[in-house]
Symmetry: C2
Subunit: 406 residues, 2 copies
């Protein structure tokens, strides 16, 4: 999957001061001195993580922002994507003068482990065999993804992130960062997310996995070695998931019952309706940029996510630190029409943070755009991000507009 | 699909008076004298419809209730199902002394055309070739299903149905009955339904169809002639659909994040969670009782359903009759946690009926059971059905407990 992605610099071993915006596709080998132990017990050593950086790390390395991507996202946050040629998935939010201001912050985003855009994952070569891992790749968790990110910031010499921010599965990683490394995170912005994957969430993921596994070209996960691709199954998985990213109202507004380039229905199984054509397009284009096994692994990581379960079933306990509340400042954001990660899930996190008297604010943004709102033009949401970042920057003593470098 | 279903009497040509409860699997050949013209323009002649009857038709044939089944339902409403061995899908509602009281009413339910339980459909033999139709079967609509039902009651000598009742796609048929044949329906009970399929509804159906068509064993619809079955694709379609039948709350209550016969997760792709195991079971058992092409045809019929579109885009116009309101009495029921056919859709029908000053009542039943509530133990809902039926029976002059026969 990664062969077509040009590296815009060799694996990063240089000092990170002075990075300019646009180093969006770097590689680093982590776990060299000491292997990283995964939740499943397997140890990864000498594994690759792909990442991008935007902006400049200041002298005291206090302006680093970790952006965590969602299920099918990657580290091309703000630059043009090398495969699709489109702007990065969060270019509306991350860039010079934008809410996550790369004139002020040093933004880091790494492709999650288990992914397929350069970080170690099931499509990468297994050193033991010289062939793609396939299902021999160990099952990873959200905590494992964050462990790798922690090694990355260690590598970059950053002791404490100014902020960790992300939506959906990115938001899970934000929560996990705050819980696993509370002293390494100043502020946390979990967006459209939850502290656990619900039964309905798991159910939708299971449908996607079964769609992939039902495709004979999946070859029990060994398709890369057999020079096949389970494109049909992966497309169906994407179509099913895509519906969950949109609200019923958004689908109605965008498509309603409008027909596709025709005046009347065809009495057949072509894409009569625009919404059918749109969904098929989502499925077809997805398979060009995503690995089916990565889809299995990453959905599984989300299913396993349950912060409370790791803390005696009490979510608030996840946010206790040295006899008091977590030192991390939180701002939770949900979207009113998001039925995949509904506001109730964000509220549960807020209640848990309140229960330990942590520093937390919460905004439910009114929108009909559904779960995908965190990726879309949503001015109120962007104001929330900017406001929280600005306030925390002031508190952290970060001056504005690169002044820290002067 | 139908070979294993025993007929419990020869195709019904006898007089219908005196039918006893339990004649749940009859056959009739319709369209013999005159072919039935489908919306797509194709004419069907001499086609089979499978149906069941329960209770006794009274002397003036005024106590007939047409029950319309949902997507994957059939005519085994109240008897034991010959394939699954389980009680009929609405045995809670239909039977002696039950809300749709077979001591009082003569209940008829026919397998929809396009189905796979005995009525003509894509799995049946094409007279032109002597082989299963497959995709040569014409695409049918909800109105076509109701046309066939109208021919059935003509055959049974019934001029006017006392009531037409059904949920989900059954409710679409109820609405279509009232619009197509307002003088042949005394009362209508559309449950958990809508006057049109929404963009989200179409999207979910399209995912199911694509899952079936992605299965190589679908063979472009010709699997029966090639002795294959697209079981994997059909199972995925069923799994995706099944999620939409339940509310998030119901899934949480039933399964939550409970693990399946284990203490900890397996770090693999087996069904770790009970909800995964449940969904897989839904998929696997479905393929034993349903034909994949029928699934395509029936979902398509639902997608095409749009009562307003046939009436200049104004739903109220569908309910005008001879310069006034429809003579049909309506009772609409929705379920508060049904997100597939939400209350707003029922309200839209109620508003349209109000706009023409029709006789309509409406109940939103508070439940967390989601769309499937119409098939489940839901006492308030059952009271609504009983109350409306009793009130209409009084108005219609139907005496109680078989008194009409005395």
């Amino acid at each position: 999957m990664t062969a077509s992605i040009p590296l815009n610099q060799p694996p990063a071993t240089a000092e990170v001061e002075g990075f300019v915006s646009g180093r969006s596709n770097q590689r680093v080998t982590l776990g060299v001195d000491q292997p990283m132990r995964l939740d499943c017990g397997v140890e990864l050593s000498g594994f690759t993580v792909a990442y991008g950086t935007y902006g400049t790390l200041n002298a005291d390395k206090s302006n680093a922002v970790m952006v965590c991507h969602a299920l099918t996202g990657d580290h091309f946050v703000s630059d043009y994507h090398p495969v699709s040629g489109k702007p990065g998935w969060w270019s509306m939010l991350v860039g010079p003068g934008r809410p996550i201001d790369t004139d002020r912050y040093f933004v880091i985003c790494s492709n999650v482990i288990g992914g397929c855009m350069g970080s170690i994952g099931p499509a990468e070569s297994n050193p033991a065999t010289g062939r793609p891992y396939g299902l021999d790749f160990p099952v990873i968790t959200i905590a494992d993804m964050v462990r790798a990110q922690k090694l990355l910031i260690d590598h970059l010499g950053i002791e404490k992130l100014f902020c960790v921010v992300g939506g959906s599965m990115g938001g899970m990683q934000v929560l996990q960062w705050a819980v696993s490394y509370p002293e390494s995170v100043f502020a946390a912005l979990p967006i459209a997310t939850a502290a656990r994957h619900s039964a309905q969430n798991i159910a939708f993921h299971e449908v996607g996995r079964q769609a992939i596994m039902a495709d004979p070209d999946w070859c029990n996960g060994d398709y890369l070695n057999q020079e096949k691709r389970p494109h049909r199954g992966l497309a169906v998985a994407r179509m099913a998931a895509h519906i969950t990213y949109l609200s019923e109202a958004a689908l109605h507004r965008k498509f309603g019952r409008n027909l596709q380039n025709r005046q009347t229905v065809t009495y057949g199984f072509d894409a009569d309706f625009q919404v059918e054509s749109y969904l098929r397009h989502q499925g077809i284009t997805f398979v060009d940029r995503f690995d089916a096994n990565s889809y299995l692994y990453i959905t599984r990581a989300m299913d396993y996510f349950d912060l409370a379960a790791e803390h005696g079933g009490v979510l608030a306990n996840a946010f206790r630190h040295e006899g008091g509340p977590t030192p991390v400042r939180f701002c939770l954001t949900s979207f009113s029409s998001d039925w995949l990660f509904p506001t109730t899930e964000s509220r549960a996190v807020v209640h848990a943070l309140n229960a330990v008297a942590a520093n937390v604010s919460f905004v439910e943004v009114a929108t009909d755009k559904g779960h995908d709102a965190f990726l879309l033009e949503e001015p109120h949401f962007h104001q929330v991000v900017r406001g929280f970042m600005d306030g925390c920057a002031e508190h952290r003593g970060l001056t504005n507009r690169r002044a820290a470098l002067v």
